[in-house]
Structures are given as structure tokens and as C-alpha cells.
């Protein structure tokens, strides 16, 4: 079985491009060009140089000694929190902005939930001198004021999404509508492995640098390329896709996907798509989707805005359905406790999204010699207000 996308844009039964005809020329242009352009030596050289000198790659693979001792196993952290802008998101926006430039696009649009992808997009637009418009749910704009300010400083226009539930899925709808209205000069930088083909594959490829580096770093530190476990949180799933990418066909690597259970999987306030979702179509992709029996998309909940998405990327839906990955859901409370625990134990304040991944250490039993890689996808600066409110700091 293959875990990568096929020629038609599907991972097993998931994926495809369920888009209105108005978007067809744009998406088709991208589909026909993304592999060709990203394979060009000049593109790769520019991408690699920016990842190195601008983003700060390779990010370290850090052996977490105290954490390892506590759980009596070998825990390595992939330090995506050290990327410029504070999370892995920028790996993808660098790649897509280079692609947009080569396609001759002048205007960049993006959606954002917590604001991390918005900031990463505004950053690369500033870098390239391109106009940038970020759609953000009205409610998220209120919840994530520091990131809104960052985007503005970087020269982006932040447009509130006023429709529907006024959060990430609605910001995505508004970005898609903008693209329908501006089909010629505009490029849409999607922030996760979601959306119509070729976005899930393209974003996964740009993020795959994470697992590429893990392989060479583990070889150096442990004399082997493959860990026993690779663990990452999944909202849409871009950091996870990057962390899994080069291990998908390595049968000896256990892939663990961590979803946000919110207040509990069956509490009605959750974002655990693999547990609660059914096959459906959202934002142009057939995937697992939280929805009513009537097919209306329901609003997820997680304390972490980055995991607060009612679907998962089609690659992850396929990893779940095929059994290749094990899906675990972690509550707000578990994740928040880990935010504090990791801070005190290792001096690392994680993004709340990433904190979910660490809670797997309490849920699973690892052997002493197991090599467990956890993707620390982002740092917690952006979440300080949530941490302050939660712990009354």
C-alpha cells in the first residue's frame, strides 16, 4: 500500500479536488506546475538557502534527558519551535511564495486560525515584497490579538471572516471566495495539508524537510535513521505530515497522531476528527470530517486554536483508515498540564498544539531502548495569555 498521493490526487479514498468550476483554472495551473517547478535546481537552491539562512534550519534534534529519565525511554524533540516566526508553518510559506513568484502572481491570500500561518505568510510576503491579505475569523481576531498585530507590522491586511462560526473554517471559506473573485493575479497559500489536490501533497512536500532532517540527525546520534516512534499533533496536520513523510513506508517506524479531544471526545466540545468524523467534503477535499447526519459541517472545539479544525488532511484520513498511524486524542487539561511540565522539566515552553503530542508519554508504554521522536512544532509565546488565564499565573 502507498501512503503518498496518487496521480489523481487521492490518498486511498481520500483527497481529490472538489472545487467549484471557478477555481478550476487556478488549481489546475498549480497541479500542472508544482512538481515541475519545485524540482528545478534553481528553485531547490533558493528554497534550501532560505530555510538555512532565514528560517534557521536545520532545526536541532534535541535529546531530552530529564524527560527520558522520567519515562525510562529515549525521547528526542525535533525543535521546530526554533524556526523563525516560532513554528514549522514557515517551511511551507517559503516554499509556496517561491512557487507563487514563479507563476507570476502579484497578490497573496491566506487563511489563519491562531494566526501562526498568517504570520508566516505575512513574513514571506514582506520578504518578497508582495501584497498580502490574511483572512481570520472575527472571533479569532479577538482571541489572538498579538498575532494580528504581528501581521499588521509585517505589512499584511487582516480581513475578518464574518460568516458562519467566524473561526478557521470560515476564514478558509472567505479566502476561497477571494480566490474565486480574483482568479488571475492572486495566489492562495494554504497553511496545512488540506484543501484540493495538489495542496495536501505540496504542503507535505515542503514540510517533509522535518523528517528528512530527523533521519540524518538520528543517524549521527544513534547510528540509525529510523526511530521506533514518531509523534506529532494533528489539526489539519501539516507538522505531522512533515514529521511522518520520510517514514511512511518504513514499516518499523510507529506513527502516532495526536488529536485534540477538547473537553473530552464525547463531550460535544472536541476536535478529535478521527473519532468523531465521517467521510465528507470540506474545502475541496474528501476526508474525515466532523459533521451532522445531514452533512452540515460542525464547529470543533479545542483550547488550542491550531487544532481547532473540523477535518484532517486527506493523508491523515488515509493513515487512520488504513491503520498505518495510531490516533490518540488528548484533552485540554492533559495538554495544558504538559505545557507546564515541559517548561519546568526541559526549559521549553511549547505551543499548546505541540503540548498535546507530549501527553502520549502518559498514554503509551515505551521500552527503555525505544527511540521516541516528538515533533515540538511550535513555541508557546503566542499562547502566553491562554497559559496565564488557565494557570492564573
Amino acid at each position: 500500500m502507498s501512503y503518498n498521493v496518487n496521480e489523481k490526487g487521492y490518498y486511498g479514498e481520500f483527497g481529490g479536488a472538489y472545487i467549484p468550476e471557478m477555481l478550476y483554472p487556478n488549481v489546475e495551473e498549480l497541479r500542472q506546475n508544482y512538481l515541475k517547478i519545485t524540482a528545478e535546481p534553481e528553485f531547490q537552491a533558493e528554497f534550501d538557502a532560505l530555510l538555512k539562512d532565514y528560517v534557521g534550519r536545520p532545526t536541532p534534534l534535541y535529546f531530552a534527558e530529564r524527560l527520558s529519565a522520567m519515562y525510562n525511554t529515549k525521547v528526542y524533540l525535533k525543535r521546530e519551535d526554533l524556526c523563525h516566526t516560532g513554528a514549522h508553518k514557515v517551511n511551507n510559506t517559503i516554499g509556496q511564495i517561491l512557487l507563487a513568484k514563479r507563476l507570476g502572481k502579484k497578490r497573496i491570500i491566506a487563511e489563519t486560525g491562531a494566526g501562526q500561518h498568517g504570520v508566516a505568510t505575512a513574513t514571506v510576503c514582506a520578504l518578497m515584497g508582495l501584497e498580502c491579505i490574511v483572512y481570520m475569523g472575527e472571533i479569532d481576531i479577538k482571541r489572538q490579538a498579538p498575532n494580528v498585530a504581528r501581521m499588521k507590522m509585517l505589512g499584511a491586511e487582516v480581513r475578518p471572516a464574518l460568516s458562519g462560526s467566524k473561526t478557521l473554517k470560515d476564514a478558509t471559506n472567505e479566502a476561497i471566495r477571494d480566490w474565486i473573485n480574483n482568479p488571475v493575479d492572486t495566489y492562495y497559500i494554504i497553511g496545512s495539508v488540506v484543501g484540493p489536490h495538489p495542496y495536501p501533497d505540496m504542503v507535505a512536500r515542503f514540510q517533509s524537510v522535518i523528517s528528512k532532517e530527523i533521519k540524518s540527525q538520528l543517524l549521527e546520534k544513534e547510528g540509525r535513521e529510523n526511530p521506533d516512534y514518531v509523534i506529532a499533533c494533528v489539526g489539519g496536520g501539516s507538522n505531522a505530515a512533515g514529521a511522518y513523510y520520510h517514514f511512511l513506508d518504513e514499516k518499523d517506524v510507529n506513527i502516532i497522531a495526536v488529536e485534540a479531544a477538547g473537553l473530552g471526545v464525547h463531550s460535544g466540545e472536541s476536535a478529535a476528527t478521527s473519532a468523531l468524523g465521517k467521510v465528507g467534503v470540506i474545502h475541496g477535499s474528501k476526508t474525515l470530517l466532523m459533521q451532522t447526519t445531514d452533512g452540515q459541517i460542525t464547529e470543533p472545539y479545542s483550547i488550542s486554536a491550531g487544532l481547532d479544525y473540523p477535518g484532517v488532511g486527506p493523508m491523515h484520513a488515509h493513515l487512520f483508515a488504513s491503520g498505518r498511524a495510531q490516533f490518540i486524542s488528548i484533552t485540554d487539561e492533559q495538554a495544558m498540564d504538559w505545557g507546564l511540565k515541559l517548561s519546568k522539566l526541559e526549559g521549553l515552553i511549547p505551543a499548546i498544539e505541540s503540548a498535546h503530542a507530549f501527553a502520549v508519554l502518559d498514554e503509551m508504554k515505551f521500552k527503555k531502548d525505544d527511540i521516541v521522536v516528538i515533533n515540538l512544532s511550535g513555541r508557546g509565546d503566542k499562547d502566553l495569555n491562554t497559559y496565564i488565564d488557565y494557570f492564573k499565573l
Binding site: I180, V281, Q296
Partner: protein, 253 residues
Amino acid sequence: MNRINQKLQQGKKILSIYFSAGYPSLTDTVQIIEDLEKSGIDMIEIGLPFSDPLADGPTIQASSTQALHNGMTTQVLFDQLKDIRKTVSIPLVIMGYFNPMLQYGIENFCKKCQEIGIDGLIIPDLPVDVYADEYKATFEKYGLINVFLITPQTSDERIHFIDSVSDGFIYMVSSASVTGSQSGFGATQEDYFKRIASMNLKNPQVIGFGINNAETFKQATQFAQGAIIGSAFIQHLTENGTTKIADFVKAIR
């Protein structure tokens, strides 16, 4: 023969109206359909509301959201329409997004449409290639015409492909936009209308998006066999309720 084909073969310039089922009130659906037919409308697109209507502007979004709040679901719509053919004889099309239909089950959905007397479907986010590969046979089994959209950006090659897969009419989106965001047609639109008219497609064309008054209706039907009004009619319902539908239609033609 399907009522859509019959209607289009009469050679008349047709006026079609879209509205969201269950709006303004849940139980207005049937009354609106009956009043539209009495007012001389040629075809009706019944909107099956969806939580995330990607191709729609604020007017249709708001009416869909309200309809969902009112309690509209796929099953409720089918129940409301079960006797519609006792009173209404013009072509009826259901327009909606793919996910609610997928959840109902495509075969069940089509079967139900046939039982009720629905003539066709418009599903903006079901791409033509997926339809051709996976669903065409089912739609045809239940006598349903599927209608595809084209836009000013659609290539000639793709228009010919869409024409080959279609068996009713082609829905020409007037300009690059979501619904309800245009006012008036300029030279760019006229060039596009002329270009399509000169392609000698086997399916007649009906223009939608941006038709909102007598002038735009006239402009559109100069080049195409009909025109569809959506947002402007919903706006009318929002402002006037369901009592003055005939006035709206009279003002168009």
C-alpha cells in the same frame, strides 16, 4: 423527455429563479415555488442549504444559514416537496453542495429526486471529471440532468468537454465572482457571452451570477437562452417577505 429539455426546446428566452429552501421561514418553500410558477417563471432552482457555501456571496450565505437555523435538512426538503408535482409543472432543479448529498447517499438522493419529480441538479463543488467517472450512470438511471458551470476563465477545450458530458444546459457564470457581487455587465462580459455563443455548443446556455434587473436580464438573454436570478430574489424576499413575488417577476420582464 425531461422537463428541462422540453422547456429549452420551446425556443423562448427563459427566466429561472434560485432561492434557498426554508427561507425566509421553514415552511415557505412550496408557496414560493407555486407563486413563482404563477408569475410566469420558467424554471426554479431550489437551494439545498449548506453550512459552508464556498461559491456564494453574503446574500445567499445568510439565507442558507437562516434556513438551517429554521430547521431545513435534506429530508425536510424532500418531505416538503413530496406533492409538488400535483401543483407545479415547470422544471425544478435542486442546487446544493456535494457534502449533504453524499451524506444522504447519492443513489438515495437521486431516487428521491425522481420520486418527487425533480428534473436536474446543480452541484457547484462536484467536478465534472468525478461526475463523469463516478456518478453519471446513477444520475441518468433516475432521469436527472446534471448542470455544470463554466466561467470566463474556462478554456475552450474544457468547455467542449463539459458540453460533451452535459445533457440539459450549461450554466454560464457571468464573471469571476461568487454569487451576488456584480452590478451590470460591461464590454468584458459581452465579449465572453459572444465567444461562448459562437462556439456552437450542443447544450443551450443559461447565464447566472450578476442578473438582478430587467436590463441585465435583457443583456444576458441577447446571447444566451436564459438567465438565472438568485441573490436579487433573495434580497427581495428579505425585504418584502413572500407576498410580492409577482411584482418582482414583473419588474424583470
